[in-house]
């Protein structure tokens, strides 16, 4: 890496610009939050984070992730298999639908869910009659989280599946493997880094989701308030310490996810060269 494409001064210049850009966009605001959070020491932060609504918000966010991520992982891998390996004609439509959450604003997603599951929605009343509350409750938040984080695993797996090609699977078939054995022993292991990457992105997205969840949940403190909603709530109530502390927690979780991912991708690049 010692010899770059550019001469040394140009290289230094390019690096400074890149760092400055990162600094303005990312480091300054994050650093500012960090500074503001711990401005008055650690104990107010600790108190804010251990307050009952804050703990509830954290647990609720973890619960949403624990449901949405496994669901979207299984669905995502299956959908990718369908899009790449399937023979039905509607495959392009599946691909299009899966990308929909990328295009739609989360607020629209929240409103749409409310229209379907709300008190006057399509099956809102029916479900309530059966004793299942979707809108303004955890099931609705799970739906919203699943919806916005739907595409990531599929979008990671589709190009990976294309790259692997059908030949290893055909080889497995000629060697006597059933479809099930081929999937578990050949296709899925070859896809594993794409799946890991997709899971990390799904987790990060689920963690930070605000718009859709905010509308469908009703944002009820101690009941349907996830961590991002809690941050907004504290901020709106001029509880800056509470808002900043919760933000820090959210940022720390996101950072942990990203570090985990870079650990995995580093692992991936070493396995590529040395096995």
């Amino acid at each position: 890496m010692s010899e770059g494409l550019l001469p040394r001064p140009a290289r230094l210049g390019a690096r400074s610009v890149a760092l400055a850009y990162l600094g303005v966009l990312l480091l300054a605001p994050v650093g500012m939050i960090f500074y503001r959070t711990f401005e008055h020491g650690v104990s107010p932060v600790w108190n804010a984070l251990t307050s009952q609504p804050a703990v509830h918000a954290l647990l609720l966010t973890l619960e949403l992730i624990a449901i949405a991520v496994p669901l979207n992982t299984v669905f995502g891998v299956l959908a990718a298999m369908w899009i790449v390996r399937g023979r039905s004609r509607g495959r392009w439509l599946v691909g299009l639908l899966i990308d929909l959450p990328f295009a739609l604003s989360p607020v629209v997603v929240g409103l749409a869910l409310l229209l379907v599951y709300g008190d006057n929605g399509w099956f809102g009343n029916t479900l309530t009659g059966e004793g299942v509350q979707v809108a303004f409750a955890v099931p609705g938040m799970v739906l919203a989280t699943c919806f916005v984080s739907l595409p990531y695993v599929t979008r990671e797996c589709v190009p990976a599946l294309r790259e692997i090609g059908t030949e290893p699977e055909e080889a497995a078939a000629t060697l006597g493997a059933s479809r099930w054995q081929t999937f578990w022993r050949v296709t899925l292991p070859a896809l594993r880094w794409a799946v890991v990457y997709g899971v990390v992105l799904t987790t990060a997205r689920s963690l930070g989701e605000f718009g859709a969840v905010s509308i469908i949940s009703g944002d009820i403190e101690g009941k349907t308030q996830s961590l991002p909603l809690y941050v907004q709530d504290r901020y709106a109530n001029f509880d800056t310490v509470g808002a900043y502390s919760a933000s820090m927690l959210l940022a720390a979780l996101a950072l942990a996810t990203l570090l985990l991912m870079s650990r995995f991708t580093r692992h991936r690049s070493t396995t590529m060269t040395t096995g």
């Binding site: 055909e170 000629t174 006597g176 059933s178 292991p189 070859a190 590529m272």
Partner: protein, 325 residues
């Protein structure tokens, strides 16, 4: 086991890949499917393996009609041009795959020693001993293809099918592997079909060659039969170099080059002399404007003192006749 193809037809959309193809591949033979790209040879191989379903026609392996059987129940070994290695498995696990998937988890554990012994035996056969713990990415192209071969042979297939197996390798490794495949076949006598677009490879490796073109079979025969008695102009042109003259086709080595002055020879101008080691290729221009190539030995060329610009005499002989045109 013998392989029999009966009137197989296969279309992909509007494209006819196989058009009423029938072939018999004798038990224990080493047969080459030879043809240009798009001739249907790979499709035919995949139909035999069960990786493609023919639209009509039947496929027999041994006595059994396998047309409706999936690939995994046909007992074929298949080797792909680009190896199709399981990249996340070691060489050992790649080779053991076909042995493992046929056993229940418990049987696998019980027969571990037997499986290991079989894998060792195969790795010795393909000369990959000591590389058991490597991953495919850590092998050269030739080693990867030998691993793929060991993997295909592991479950003791009744037929071995190779789809352009040496196509992705450089010339020297290709010649080596070709040699080695022939010796391997002498040792294990499994009915083997090699798909190739390279006539030299087909002639070098196979005892029987099936020449295909545009989804049809042009000719079946030994390398010598194909070369000496091609069934058509197309086959003659495909299995070796030819001069296309107004009155027909001639092989370059059938063109006689003499010193100018012999009464019954035609006059020709030497345009280019190419030294290919033992052989010398001469490009000639005839008086009527037709060009042709002649093939001589080094000694003949030296005796004639061939050089561009010289005038020589040529005797063309009569053009090749075909059994069907």
């Amino acid at each position: 086991m013998a392989i029999e193809i009966h009137d197989v037809r296969k279309r992909f959309g509007d494209y006819t890949a196989l058009d009423q193809v029938s072939v018999l591949v004798p038990d224990g033979s080493l047969t080459a499917l030879l043809g240009p790209s798009g001739s249907g040879k790979s499709t035919l191989l995949r139909v035999i393996a069960g990786l493609e379903r023919p639209d009509t026609g039947r496929v027999y392996i041994g006595e059994q009609d396998v047309t409706d059987r999936p690939a995994r129940e046909r007992g074929v070994g298949f080797v792909f041009q680009h190896y199709a290695a399981f990249k996340h498995m070691t060489v050992r696990d790649n080779v053991a795959f076909g042995l493992d998937v046929r056993r229940s988890r418990r049987a696998r554990r019980r027969e571990r020693a037997g499986i290991d012994a079989r894998v060792r035996e195969l790795l010795a056969l393909v000369r990959l001993e000591g590389l058991e713990d490597r991953y495919p990415d850590q092998l050269s192209g030739g080693q990867r293809q030998r691993m793929a071969l060991a993997r295909a042979l592991a479950p003791d297939p009744s037929v071995l099918l190779l789809d352009e197996p040496f196509g992705a390798l450089d010339a020297q490794v290709r010649a080596e592997l070709r040699d080695w495949l022939r010796r391997l076949h002498d040792e294990i006598h499994v009915t083997t079909i090699v798909v190739t677009h390279d006539q030299e490879e087909a002639m070098d490796v196979a005892a029987q060659i099936v020449v295909m073109n545009a989804g049809r079979i042009e000719q079946c025969g030994s390398p010598r039969e194909l070369y000496e008695h091609p069934a058509s102009e197309w086959v003659m042109g495909f299995v070796g170099p030819v001069n296309r003259l107004q009155d027909g086709l001639r092989r370059p080595h059938d063109v006689q080059v003499l010193e100018w002055g012999d009464s019954d020879a035609d006059e020709a101008l030497v345009q280019r002399v190419v030294h290919l080691g033992f052989e010398v290729r001469v490009e000639l221009l005839l008086a009527d404007g037709q060009t042709l190539r002649a093939q001589l030995t080094r000694e003949q060329a030296a005796e004639l003192e061939l050089a561009p610009g010289e005038i020589v005499g040529v005797r063309l002989g009569s053009p090749s006749a075909f059994t069907m045109v």
